[in-house]
Symmetry: C2
Amino acid sequence: MGSTTVAAAFGAVLRDCRQKAGISQEALADSAEVDRTYVSLLERGLRQPTLETLFRLARALSVSPATLVSRTTVIVG
Amino acid sequence: MGSTTVAAAFGAVLRDCRQKAGISQEALADSAEVDRTYVSLLERGLRQPTLETLFRLARALSVSPATLVSRTTVIVG
């Protein structure tokens, strides 16, 4: 299990949740108080979030942090 | 919600899970392939894990990553 795999899986989950929420990367970044480019990097699996950032993204998406992680786990396998 | 709070909450969860597993910080570090001092820092809330590290710690403790996060969420409130 490499970091690329976890990061890529999380990126896919994040993008899906954001699109289902119907908001742009910029809107998510503003709401979660992270850099706008950072959301793009996360969704492409080029960065991985810290626990704190995970909590902020989840809050901005109105989902639980555990849900994001659980969905990531399913993809990682 | 500050990073200290999330980090401190995760640290408490990590320590509890490790103690319930009956293993030392050193054994957990070896199993999760992280630095030995890092586990101590995490448990004291002085560091927060990346998503990748969260997955490795969970695997080493035979719990799901989402369980660690869910328990952290309860403490953060």
